[in-house]
Amino acid sequence: MPVKYITEHIWDKYLRKDRLPHIWCPGCGIGSILSAFLMAVDRAGIDLDKLVVVSGIGCTGRVAGYILADSFHTTHGRPIPFAVGLKLARPDLHVVVFSGDGDLVTIGGNHFIHAARRNNDILVILVNNFNYGMTGGQVGATTPENAYTTTTPYGNLEQSFNLPYLAAAAGAVYVARWTSLHVRRLAWSIEEAFHKKGFRFIEVLSQCPTTFGRRNKMPEGIDMLRWFKENCEIRHFEDPKNVAIVLGKKIIVGKFVDIEEPKPTFEEKVWDLIYRLSGGSHGKGK
């Protein structure tokens, strides 16, 4: 049988091995999403010395601690402004924000829309597991209406965000949604995003069996992945206003926005202004 039992993985070189095993539950999708990310980093030829990963608080926020690159685990809701400051100071670096739905668009919603509006040159990978997993499964802005969480024990009364629509409306130049099942397409999407500039947003739906799935009749990770398999439909360039996630309906995934004509990034405009005002003594080549 062509099988070998070994002790090291080919992508261990991208991980802080002294911090493994990671904290995510058995069946959690974040590990799969991290694998897709590392494959994208590998295929895009990103120099790990020039990669910075910024995350916030939550289960997904822990990715920063496992990636062997400069990484910052900031306060709840605030990885985006941190990344904005860092990228402005160091426009030569690849700055990736990798965090969860609660962190980025619930408490961090304001920063999200403004960074998209400004066209800050950051790649935002948002893992949407439909709840606040780390704290036990409370409702968040992406919890589907009628879903059960610990703070909506009678079913969520609120409509959830249609994130691709929000991102596109705010000005993102690249908007895609995949799941922790569509890992290959996710990896290609991330790789594609690495080669673009501007505010790039990838929403990745993920299973959280422990706090969300369990309360919504999908107790194991495999149950939620099967839910994705049965209900996801790939529709590239679908109008983002049609991709809201509603329980019982199809989930639309794919690449929705990919603006081709160059839209100057905020950083380019800032450094351009500096170059002009400082009489050419600063800013050239940034």
Partner: protein, 383 residues
């Protein structure tokens, strides 16, 4: 470029902006709020001229986090706000402390609480500057009282931030921010600029392993150091480590970093204190009428002196204790709040002398006569 050496006529806000540029500040992120907006406006105009970045963020929370990111990106970074914005920044001041990030925060105090009197003076953020964020930590807070000091102390603020890898707060007040006075800009060789310590090599480098002075060298981003920094309690590698012993070491060091160097940080200006039996303790704009009160008192034979705090935190407890045990019989704490530094003075005096509070709630500064009247009453023991 930074201002050429010479004499200028500037407002407090403008002097802080120019002091920052002189100190090497090349990043400002802020949000408009009276009475600090002119500072941001000056930075918006001046920073691109000197190769620096200005960005107005969506709120104060974004502002402070953005400057922390920019500081990690290698730039000296600053924000400016007033009371309400300062309150919003508290959580992330804690992040800057935990990640040991040099930043400068200017709080141009106005009358509070809440929206208060946006265009009127206050000094109500003194305690918040020290205790505003959750958990146990130390920061440095400076308090200018003249426009010249606005320029000079801002340079010092950046130097202290870089030296100790800590947020430094410049506690101004509204009156000073809008006051126009003469500022002497010295020539560059008269100014000391301090930069953050950098690691000597990448070999076996631990990002949070302190040197003997309790300050770890700050690694640059994007040069292969593969740093991990987090707001969680962490060990010398920077990795989260939920362990009481690690917490004990870390928090103690973050505080001792400042406490053990208090003597180098503390900066107090004294006037007529050599033979003083009564002393005014004050800071910021109140120091101006206080000096006049001292002169009037002396003309009337009262041995009054002035202790002007240029650093508020760390507080000069040893100095106050010395005065209290060496001839000063009463301290009058004049501040525009209902007693903030007053309590710290009382604690330092430790019963060795009397301590009186001369408060004003906000919106107006003490007049020299008001201070003098209080001094006279204290002297007569009528209180």
């Amino acid at each position: 470029m930074s201002l050429a050496p010479g004499i200028y006529f500037l407002s407090g806000n403008y002097a802080v902006a120019e002091g920052a540029i002189m100190a090497g500040c090349r990043f400002f992120a802020g949000y408009p709020i009276t009475p600090s907006s002119e500072l941001a406006e000056r930075m918006a105009r001046r920073l691109p001229q000197v190769g620096g970045i200005f960005v107005q963020m969506e709120d104060e929370i974004a502002s402070i986090v953005t400057i922390i990111g920019a500081s990690w990106g290698g730039l000296k970074a600053m924000t400016a706000t007033s009371g309400p914005g300062f309150s919003l920044m508290q959580e992330n001041i804690g992040l800057a402390v935990m990640m040991e990030t040099p930043i400068v925060i200017v709080d141009v105090q106005r009358a509070g609480p809440s929206t208060g009197m946006p265009t009127y003076i206050g000094q109500g953020d003194v305690m918040q500057a020290k205790w505003g964020s959750h958990g146990q930590y130390e920061i440095i807070a400076l308090s200018p009282s003249t426009v010249q000091e606005c320029f000079d102390l801002t340079i010092r603020a950046f130097n202290l931030a870089e030296r100790y890898r800590v947020p430094v707060i410049v506690l101004m007040d509204e009156r000073l921010s809008h006051l126009y006075e003469k500022v002497r800009v010295p020539s560059p060789d008269e100014i000391v600029i301090i930069e953050r310590k950098r690691p000597r090599s990448r070999e076996n480098f631990l990002p949070f392993m302190p040197d003997e002075d309790l300050v770890p060298p700050m690694p640059p981003v994007g040069e292969g150091f593969r740093i991990h920094a987090t707001g969680l309690t962490h060990d010398e590698r920077g990795y989260p480590h939920m362990d009481p012993e690690v917490q004990e070491r870390l928090v103690r060091r973050l505080c001792d970093k400042i406490r053990k160097h208090a003597d180098e940080i503390i900066d107090v200006d004294t006037y007529a204190m050599d033979d003083a039996e009564l002393a005014i303790v004050t800071f910021g704009s109140v120091a101006r009428p206080a000096i006049r009160a001292v002169k009037l008192a002396r003309e009337n034979g009262i041995k009054l002196g002035l202790i002007k705090l240029r650093t508020i935190w760390p507080f000069p407890e040893k100095l106050i204790e010395e005065y209290a045990t060496n001839g000063v019989k009463a301290f009058i704490v004049a501040e525009i709040n209902y007693g903030q530094i007053y309590h710290v003075v009382r604690e330092a005096v430790a019963g060795n002398a009397k301590v009186h509070l001369l408060p004003k709630m906000g919106g107006a500064i003490h007049t020299p006569d008001e201070i003098l009247d209080e001094v006279v009453m204290v002297k007569r023991n009528a209180r």
